[in-house]
Symmetry: C2
Subunit: 433 residues, 2 copies
Amino acid sequence: MNPAEIIARKRDKKILTSEEINYFVLGYTKGDIPDYQMSALLMAILLNSMTAEETAALTNAMLESGDQVVFDPHKPIYVDKHSSGGIGDKISIILAPLMAVCGLKVPMLSGRGLGHTGGTLDKLESISGFRTDLSIEEYKAGVESVGCIITGQTAEIAPADRMIYALRDVTATVESIPLICGSILSKKFAAGPNSIVFDIKCGNGAFMKNMEQAEDLGRNLRHICQAMAKGSAYLITDMNQPSGRAAGNALEIDECVLALNGQGPDDLMQIVFSLGECMLNLGGISAGNEAIMQQMAKIEDGSAFEKFLEMIAYQGGQTKAIESGKPIAPAKKIISVHSDVSGYIESIDTYRLGRLIIEMDGGRTVVGQQIDLTTGFVIHEKIGDQVDRGELIFEIHSSGKLEDSYLIKAFRECIRITNEEVSSPELIKSKSI
Amino acid sequence: MNPAEIIARKRDKKILTSEEINYFVLGYTKGDIPDYQMSALLMAILLNSMTAEETAALTNAMLESGDQVVFDPHKPIYVDKHSSGGIGDKISIILAPLMAVCGLKVPMLSGRGLGHTGGTLDKLESISGFRTDLSIEEYKAGVESVGCIITGQTAEIAPADRMIYALRDVTATVESIPLICGSILSKKFAAGPNSIVFDIKCGNGAFMKNMEQAEDLGRNLRHICQAMAKGSAYLITDMNQPSGRAAGNALEIDECVLALNGQGPDDLMQIVFSLGECMLNLGGISAGNEAIMQQMAKIEDGSAFEKFLEMIAYQGGQTKAIESGKPIAPAKKIISVHSDVSGYIESIDTYRLGRLIIEMDGGRTVVGQQIDLTTGFVIHEKIGDQVDRGELIFEIHSSGKLEDSYLIKAFRECIRITNEEVSSPELIKSKSI
């Protein structure tokens, strides 16, 4: 096989064989195929696309470029969940222990904040001592004994994906559905799950701005999972406003504690339970209403919260602050933002809210940057809510670095209020199980 | 400006500005932009194409990456000719001195054999002592004093083209009309002509297999020349059989000597005179029938042949063998191939004839390879000719390395003979002046 001939075949819109894809990806990982041939192939893939079978072969090749965790491929209970990213999206942190007490094993490798969105690992690190750098052995043992683990990717997992991702970033080949799917799935499946539920966020706070893009991603992820003989389901959920009320690292952990104690906001819990239902279904545990009731019961009886504490303890985190029910990492100051008019909330600039957290050092502008885990906001009114002049809309949790007046103005600009009644958006826009 | 953003614009089918193209090409030549970004851009160009204006900007950027020869931009007499390559195509070697005695200056940088086709430099090197490595100063002075020079590209001419060409070869980005045109024209115009006549060969012995491809290349070359404010014209000429009778390096020089002494085969001379007419027209010397008559007269009176000897002498070659009229570099053995049937020649596998010369070491399979300048063939019957059983069709000029019986069989297989009358092909298929 010859790299230039493989590039030529994709250039000419031919379908690559899994042997060709393997040869290329493994040759690249070993350094036998240079960057310039890989980048030519990536551009040809971006412009001429790939079938689900080709993308499955690409995913497998990247997955096989490094260490793979294998639990029991015959037991459906190893189920993961992946979100395409949004604001206030703390759902993984609630779902992992909840699913574990319902009978699943949840092997979850998560990431840092990306673009304007927050990252699960950053949020968990606001729990004092919590380790997101477990070794593969610690991770594997934790999934089996605790039932759920949320940790970071190790260097040994899918090194081809890491190399290709870095190259895509500088060669304008990021925006390709097959390459995006391959990157997500190679990391996810290297961590050992037998199936995955995808939460595809759609709206002005998500990467997928419209239903067409979201459905396209969802369909592709499912086709590739099918081609890889893995279970999958996806929900498309609304991201035109933050999930729940809290956004920002430590603030979201506080909200997870509330949620696991039965006090989660309705919008957040509805998505949690729907995703949980899909996971339990894929895991062969329960389905439909039964799956919803099972989850509610596990929150009611405190066992989901207990499991959360157990996971934190296993990963080296201190549970005392969590158990106290108090904010785990309070910000220097809380600034209240009140409405200056009366009316109905019509829309929320969710993207800008995400950028404002980053401005308050709650997210990164450069890889590896230290962040301030205490900053963020709590939103008290959502789309469709009626507000009176002077009513509290936001509490901004600030480090004091930025002027209060600047923040108040900026947050106020993120909310559009109208005189006419507005209905609140459908939370779950589409479901494919 | 940012390389990834420029790649993204071409990926998204945008038209690049000449500033962007300059920045990219010069950055790449200086080593500031790495191979992997250039190869991603090349693939995007191949798949999304470029306008004539973009290609003109690309050509200018490559041309400006190195030394440029400038004669007198206001004198139209500096005219070059470029062939897209074929078998037995020795036309440049006849035209250069012929045009010089007609009043043009012919500044010609030529190349080696490419693929199955021969190269003008290789052919000229069968003249003992002939130098194809003139310095830019020697070249420039020769064009002015002799009136025509045929030499090789120096390292200082269009280094960007050389770097990009090497990268295209290994990234499956050769087959792109804008990239092919940019490569041809940057080298050609760096050598100083004010206009160029293109001889686009079309047929089973050429790179362009059909009229659509040939017209596409011709139109593109003209549009780019227009965008560069350079004069141009093109002919599409038949390459379904060798040009003239001789193919192979030294054998073609022998045929050039015949041609410049008024004994050239009709098919060859018809194309020579038509291209010459275009060149004289662009140079403002003569046009139409007058230009044809002028060329014939310069052959008749011996001055074109004298000019050829003058060019050879200027470039260090020995003229004695040329003047003797004998073969300049006879092969070890000549094998006659006779027809085994009677009929009319219907078709000739011209591509395979080219490959057979390479098999006889008359061309390269690897860059830099030493070749045997004595091998090749003379073809005595062409398409449409009637042949009798036992009549001489080929004389194979062999080094004896390959078995005679193998060569006879192979050459015979290149000729298809039919019982029905066949008309000879139109030599000039299209003309754009």
